[in-house]
């Protein structure tokens, strides 16, 4: 499966406020790409544009799927997900009054995922044994870390070609953030996923990404080809590592 995501010169905003000002990024098949930036710089808006939750005013968003190029601009979130791009949303957005098992089964609502539901379920329980134990518990009654696991599991149930993870560290204890990152990397390596991860926790994110974009004020300020290059960049130091402002 050769799937890649190409975003070119995307401009978007809410009313008069322009949040994204010509953003171009790409994610190739099998890569883990980070989208780093502090709050209010446009990470979430870019992800909303990809998912069809916000429509960009200019620019293109395409997904290459086995040689076919699909334009995502103008599609609804349902259609974007149906084409294989699955989001683990910020704040998890689980169905709190349904059980863990039911939340996972809803992940398999996507037509192409229904055929693989048993295989995907085994895969998720394998990755997150706690979800198997708590299958019949209501999702809303679980801890933040468990809910984040469930959110990832629900996304994996959709058989994603490209997995987008928005701020997996929000609301988690620091020790859990590290574990969550390790888990995402494990899953990616094990199943050959293509991952785009938006994150403000630079240290943790840089551990698992192959490369990353740093987004500042709605523009890509820096593109790091490797985790090493990211850490040594002046801009990153200035923003994240306590350098002079």
């Amino acid at each position: 499966m050769a799937n890649s995501l190409h975003i070119e010169n995307v401009v978007a905003g809410y009313g008069a406020a322009r949040v994204l000002d010509g953003v171009s990024i790409s994610v190739s098949a099998g890569e883990t790409v980070g989208l780093l930036g502090t709050n209010g710089n446009g990470k979430s808006t870019l992800i909303k544009c990809i998912m069809g939750m916000v429509q960009p005013t200019a620019g293109t968003i395409r997904v290459e799927d086995d040689g076919r190029s699909v334009d995502l601009v103008g599609q609804t979130p349902e259609q974007v997900v149906e084409s294989g791009i699955v989001l683990v949303p910020e704040g998890r957005r689980l169905f709190p009054d349904l059980t863990v098992g039911e939340n996972m089964m809803l992940g398999a609502y996507r037509r192409t995922a229904r055929a693989d539901v048993e295989r995907n379920r085994a895969l998720c329980f394998d990755a997150f044994p706690v979800l198997k134990e708590r299958q019949n518990q209501l999702a809303g009654s679980m801890s933040g870390g468990e809910q984040q696991m469930l959110a990832i599991a629900r996304a994996l149930m959709s058989s994603p070609k490209i997995l987008i993870v928005d701020e997996p560290s929000v609301g988690l204890a620091p020790i859990l953030v590290g574990r969550m990152m390790t888990k995402i990397k494990e899953l990616k390596d094990q199943y050959g996923l293509t991952v785009l991860m938006a994150e403000q926790n630079f240290h943790q994110a840089s551990r698992i990404v192959d490369r990353a974009y740093v987004i500042v004020g709605g523009r890509i300020a820096f593109e790091g080809k490797s985790a090493e290059e990211l850490r040594n960049n002046e801009l990153v130091k200035q923003y994240y590592l306590g350098g002079e402002a």
Binding site: V81, M105, R114
Partner: protein, 275 residues
């Protein structure tokens, strides 16, 4: 026994009010509409009322989907749902009632079927079949809806739709479509309930009004959106009403039923059976 019928009416409202948060007060009117169509078929061709109720379900399903589409386009999409939506369903209720009065007049109508009028004796208890048959049909329908909601992709999506519409979109389900189907199913159950109603009692066009309060009470008592809870609450309420009307007088039955609702909500605010 009466509880079975209550359950059949409350089921549809559990779907719409309990799971979709739409206050469809016209639901009993749809039930009565079902009764009259069943009556018409029975009077004209002698079709079995319950079979006719089942035959009519696809028609009511489409009617429900159409009703939801109108409701969605005119109210829900513009965030006007609560009060004006209520007015919409109130108006719908009147339209159905007046339509039935114009067509059939205000008289009570009844149907004929082989099991109406027969009884079976179980020791000292006599069970009229016109109560027993609807009871069984209602339970089968409730079981069907329960399995549908818990075992199918569509059913699970219906239970999720009021909790987080965006999250539902992110698993590739269109919330408006899901709600439209759920509403269609709810109105389809109203049709079967209508058939049961006219088997139990003669029906007149405004008969639905008597049940509005009771049916909403059952849905709340059942825990808003739980099929098992709805059936349990309906049966309990049916028993409470029957006992009251036997021991005191029938006119006390609604009062005692509502007293029971208040009491139950005070003790178990989340409903008899929690989801």
């Amino acid at each position: 026994m009466l509880g079975g019928f209550y359950a059949s009416v409350a089921l549809g409202l559990t779907l719409v009010f309990g799971l979709l948060n739409i206050v469809n007060i016209a639901h009993p009117a749809f039930v009565v509409l079902g009764s009259f169509l069943v009556y018409a078929a029975n009077a004209q061709w002698g079709v079995d009322p319950i079979a006719m109720g089942v035959i009519l379900t696809p028609l009511f399903f489409l009617l429900g989907m159409a009703t939801y589409s109108v409701y969605h386009a005119s109210f829900e999409k513009r965030d006007n749902e609560s009060l004006r939506g209520l007015a919409f369903f109130f108006g719908l209720m009147f339209i159905i009632e007046v339509g039935l009065i114009l067509q059939y007049g205000v008289d009570y109508r009844l149907v004929n079927a082989p099991y109406i009028g027969k009884v079976i004796n179980l020791g000292s208890v006599t069970l009229p079949l016109r109560m027993l048959v609807p009871f069984c049909v209602a339970l089968v329908m409730a079981l069907g809806i329960f399995l549908f909601l818990s075992r199918t992709y569509l059913g699970r999506a219906i239970r999720a739709v009021a909790q987080d519409q965006l999250a539902l979109q992110l698993v590739a389900a269109d919330p408006v479509r899901i709600k439209r189907i759920a509403f269609g199913i709810a109105i389809a159950t109203a049709c079967v309930a209508g058939a049961l109603l006219i088997v139990i009692n003669p029906v007149e066009p405004a008969a639905g009004r008597v049940y509005i309060g009771r049916i909403f009470a059952i849905v709340v008592l059942g825990g808003m959106g739980s099929v098992r809870g709805t059936v349990a609450a309906a049966i309990v309420l049916g028993i409470v009403e029957s006992v009251t009307s036997t021991i005191y007088s029938p006119s006390w039955a609604p009062a005692v039923a509502f007293g029971f609702l208040l009491f139950a909500l005070a003790v178990r605010p989340a409903g008899l059976l929690r989801r």
